[in-house]
Assembly symmetry: C2
Homo-oligomer: 233 residues x 2
DNA sequence: GTCTATAAGCCGATAGAC
DNA sequence: GTCTATCGGCTTATAGAC
C-alpha cells in the first residue's frame, strides 16, 4: 500500500479534528500531531489555519452547488427534482459527514470577507431547494402551503444526517437518501387529487453521478492549494 | 427601569457569545466586556468558564426532559403525544434559540464526566420521542416503517429551528410549532385506513404549560449557582 | 520537506487593593 | 463587588538549520 501523501494526511486530520472539536477548539499542534508532523512543518503546506478552514468550506459548498446544478439539469418535474436533491444532500452528508459538519457549523469562524462569500453560496443552495418546492406547490404536485417553511424543515432534517450517521450502521448513504426522499414526499403531501405520490411511482435518475459531481470539486484531494492560497494572500 | 442584575448580564452575554462564536471561540474577556465587567470580576460569579457551559447545558437539558415528561403525563395517544412534543421542541428552540443552539452544538466541549451526563440526558430525550413514534406505528396510527429513521428525521428538522428562527419573522414560536406539528403528521403518514390525520382532527393540550415547564428550570435566571458550583468542585 | 527554536500575543485564572 | 496587575501556559506563525 502506498503511503498517503502528507497533504492528504493534513487534510484528513484537520477535517476530523474540526468536525469533532470545532475550528476554534482545535490547535495547529493537534493537527500536526495527527498528521505525524511538528507544528512548524504544517506551514509548508498551508498558508494559515484560517486558509485551511476556508478551503474546506469553499470546497464543500462548491461541490454541493455544482451537484445541485447537475440535478436541475438532469430532471424536469418538481417531484423528481426534489427527490434527487434530497438523495444527493443526504448521501453526501453521510459519505462526507466530517466535511459536511464543518461546512454546516463553522461559517461564523471565517474572516468576514470569506464568511460573506460562503454565506451567499449557502443562500443560493437554499434558493434552489425553495424554488423547486415553490414550483411544485404552484403546479399542484405538493399539498403544503408554505414553501419557505417546508424547505427549512426539509433542509434541517437532511442536514442533521451528518451529526448522527455512522458508516457501520444499517443503511448505506444511498439507501438512506432513498428513505429520506420518501419521507420528503410524505411531508410535502405530494400527489394529485388525493392520491399520494411515492418514490416508487417516479422515474428518478441514479444518484451516483450527482455524488460524483460533488466529489469532483467538493471532496478532499485539492489541498495542494497552498500556492493558490499564497497567491491570493 | 430596574438595571439588570450582574448575574443575568453575564448569563445573557455568555449565551449570545457561545451561540454565535462557539464556546471555544469565546474568551472570558469577551464575556466580561459584554457584561460591562473586567475579566477578573467574572470569577466572583462563576467558578470557571467550563462551569458556565456546564450550567447552560444542564439547565437546558433538564428543562427539556421535564417538559417532555409533562407532555407524556398530559396526553395518551401517540399522535397527540407526538404533536405536543413537536410543538414544545419547536417553540422552545425558537423562544430560547441561543440556549438551544449551545445545548445542541457544544457537548464535545464539556469535560468528559459532564459530557457523559449530558449525553445520557440527550439519549433519554431522544428515547422519549422514539418510544412515541414506535407506539404509534404499532397502534397503526403512523404509516412509516422505520421508527428510528423517522425519529431522527423529525428531531433534525425541529432542532434546526434554533439556527434560522428570527423573532421578527412572520410566525410566533407557538404558530411555528403548530405548522411543524402538521408537517410531522404528514411525514409519518398519520391516519387510519387511508384517511390522513391532521392536527385539526386532534384534541391537543395547549403548549403554553409545557413551555412553562421548560422555563421553570431550563431557562436562565439561576446563574447565582456559583456557590453550588463551588460546593460541587 | 522536516526539524528546532523562538517571537509576540492571548488564554484562563488568581491575588490583593479598595 | 469591582478593579488592576500578573502568573504560567498555550496559541499562531516565522526563521533558519539540516
Amino acid at each position: 500500500m502506498s503511503p498517503m501523501p502528507t497533504e492528504d494526511r493534513i487534510w484528513l486530520a484537520a477535517l476530523a479534528l474540526f468536525a469533532r472539536q470545532g475550528f476554534a477548539g482545535t490547535s495547529t499542534r493537534e493537527i500536526a500531531d495527527a498528521s505525524g508532523l511538528t507544528a512548524g512543518s504544517l506551514y509548508h503546506y498551508m498558508g494559515s489555519k484560517d486558509d485551511l478552514l476556508e478551503q474546506v468550506m469553499l470546497g464543500g459548498m462548491t461541490g454541493l452547488l455544482e451537484a445541485a446544478a447537475a440535478v436541475v439539469a438532469a430532471t424536469e418535474q418538481p417531484p423528481q427534482r426534489l427527490v434527487s436533491l434530497v438523495q444527493l444532500h443526504v448521501a453526501v452528508h453521510a459519505r462526507h459527514r466530517l466535511e459536511a459538519k464543518v461546512v454546516d457549523r463553522e461559517i461564523e469562524q471565517l474572516p468576514p470577507a470569506t464568511r460573506k462569500r460562503i454565506g451567499a453560496m449557502r443562500d443560493e443552495y437554499e434558493g434552489v431547494w425553495r424554488g423547486v418546492v415553490s414550483a411544485g406547490i404552484d403546479a399542484g404536485d405538493f399539498g403544503v402551503a408554505d414553501a419557505r417553511l417546508a424547505t427549512l424543515a426539509l433542509l434541517g432534517m437532511c442536514t442533521e444526517v451528518a451529526t448522527w450517521f455512522r458508516p457501520k450502521g444499517p443503511l448505506t448513504p444511498e439507501a438512506l437518501g432513498l428513505e429520506f426522499a420518501q419521507m420528503t414526499l410524505s411531508l410535502l403531501r405530494a400527489g394529485r387529487s388525493g392520491v399520494p405520490l411515492t418514490v416508487a411511482d417516479l422515474e428518478v435518475p441514479a444518484v451516483g453521478p450527482f455524488i460524483a459531481a460533488y466529489e469532483r470539486r467538493g471532496g478532499y484531494g485539492m489541498v495542494g492549494a497552498k500556492a493558490a492560497s499564497r497567491r491570493g494572500a
